[in-house]
């Protein structure tokens, strides 16, 4: 499967990945409308920063995903064909066991409507995830393992 690779030496900490991720997962999918009218926008990619070192991290879509193991409602599933781990929001009960289990800390609580777990879905319907496509310095790369 294709995964997102992080080249932290070229991450410039601009956080455009976070911005485009929020737009992609907004209702309107339009940057101005989403940021002006929608509330509680949540990015599924997170930029970690200490001094001049920074990198953007999102779900690693682990082979043996602890979040899937931990899920009590069967919402968190790893697609056998694509390898993508997704959270089915209508099944999620918001127990946050996935957040406890995730070794990378890349699952967040989406409190905007129902309480559900929010995580990277690799922009399944796009050729490239938006964070990769919009990184101005190619610090994120989407390629086969």
């Amino acid at each position: 499967m294709k995964k997102i690779f992080i080249k932290e030496e070229y991450c410039i900490g601009c956080r455009l990945c976070e911005i485009y991720c929020q737009v992609k997962h907004s209702k309107s999918k339009k940057i101005l409308k989403a940021f002006k009218d929608e509330t509680d926008m949540l990015s599924r990619v997170m930029v970690e920063e200490i001094g001049h070192n920074s990198f953007a991290i999102q779900c690693r879509h682990c082979e043996d995903a602890p979040c899937v193991e931990a899920c009590i409602s069967g919402a968190m599933l790893k697609n056998k064909n694509s390898g993508i781990v997704t959270c089915s929001e209508d099944k999620c009960v918001g127990c946050w066991m996935c957040i406890m289990a995730c070794p990378y800390g890349v699952i967040r609580r989406d409190l905007s409507s129902r309480k559900v777990a929010s995580k990277c879905d690799l922009c399944g319907d796009e050729e490239y995830p938006v964070c990769v496509r919009n990184c101005p310095n190619e610090a994120l790369q989407f390629k086969d393992i």
């Binding site: 080249k7 030496e9 070229y10 991450c11 410039i12 900490g13 601009c14 956080r15 455009l16 911005i19 485009y20 940057i31 101005l32 940021f35 002006k36 001094g51 001049h52 919009n134 101005p136 310095n137 190619e138 610090a139």
Partner: protein
Amino acid sequence: MVLKLNQSEFEVDRDKSKCISCQVCVRQCSNDVHEYDEDDGNILSENSKCVGCHRCETLCPTGSIKIKQRESEFKRNANWTPEHLKNIYKQAQTGGVVLTGMGCDKPYPVYWDHILFNASQVTNPSIDPLREPMEIRTFIGRKPDKLTMSSFTEPGSNKVSYKSNLSPQLKLSVPILFSAMSYGSISLNAVKSLAMAASEFGTFYNTGEGGLHRDLKAYTANTIVQVASGRFGVDKEYLNSGAAVEIKIGQGAKPGIGGHLPGEKVNYDVSNTRMIPEGSDAISPAPHHDIYSIEDLSQLIYALKEATEYKKPVGVKVSAVHNVAPIASGIVRAGADFISIDGFRGGTGAAPQVIRDNVGIPIELALAAVDMRLREEGIRHKVSIIVAGSIRSSADVIKAIALGADAVYIGTAALVALGCHVCQKCYTSKCNWGIATQDPYLTKRLNPEIGTRKLLNLLTAWSHEIKEMLGGAGINAIESLRGNREHLRGLGLNEKELSILGIKHAGEAW
């Protein structure tokens, strides 16, 4: 009370209806222009800090930022221009020399823009470079006085060989090289981009006076190593690792004066590469203290040739000054294999503004004068001429070659390809594009893989354009254009300018 005598040069025009307060501008500006106000969620911009580098405008995801020139409302005066006034205010406050970066920006005539290139019509056919071979390969180095061919070795064989001893040559796939820009004045990622692009395209980059960083040893076959007055990073291994050696006497932006890399920029890596203590100022003296004459220069040229066992071309770089033609003649006689001439518009990482804007002569006139002088003396073949100092397009390249250059150096154009917006603040070390800085937060902004791709694209595009223009003029090899001034015509130039350039005015036939 503190008087605010220096008004803002730029104005950050932020369209509030488009700004989403995402703070990309705040995070990207090394001059701290933008500030996020947590109380009301708005971003405020301090115009006086803006240098006009356009980093925020380029990265703003909604296009809400526009950087505008902010005209100061001085009483109009053609003599006492705002620039003079502002410099005096600045100097009255600081007592210092006004520093600047990049090349001269004054509205002196640009001769390239007054020269037109020829094309074929009816009496001589033009050539389509996409269908027919077009040769733009170039060799830099001393050419023999005559070529002695050996007779055919065997009857019936068509093998021909020459007896003459050829001097070492640099083979360029395009008559364009990357100018000398040291590691120190620009970031390692910038130098890596230049080195990787030169290596892949089959041309050369120049170490400047920065020494050779260990990461660049893979590209030594495409490296011209420079020996300048400070002799930074120079040892036998350095000289022998490059493809050619260049002695730097002068730089177009600051003829007659030396260089000064402030200690703050001399970090661990720079200090190792330059072979100087960490944190110490790297001062290049104005003259080489062992070169006070052409004879002294000859000694250094031959010392370097001895050190490299006569296997590498040794060149001399001088800035274009009033006496450049006789100086060039002396350099050829001193034994140089190539001469690099840097015009007064050439760039720099830092120079006193008064020098950059008032010293030296345009490269077009210097090139024409040098080429003419060497031809008159019958020594033009003994040397290759590389010109520098604001080559902005493939048209400038082709005009330079028709005026007599063998190849051109591009510095500013290469940096612009890497993202530079020519804000002229290289000397502050706060380059937002990760080029003229050693700040690790800023240098990572230049990904050398992207940089290399952009430089390769630029060289590819210019090569296509050069071939198109050559083909249009009915020429199929760049050799046939060199010094072929009949292909050039002046427009709007006076008799004296035309005679120095050695070209006819537009409208005059052969």
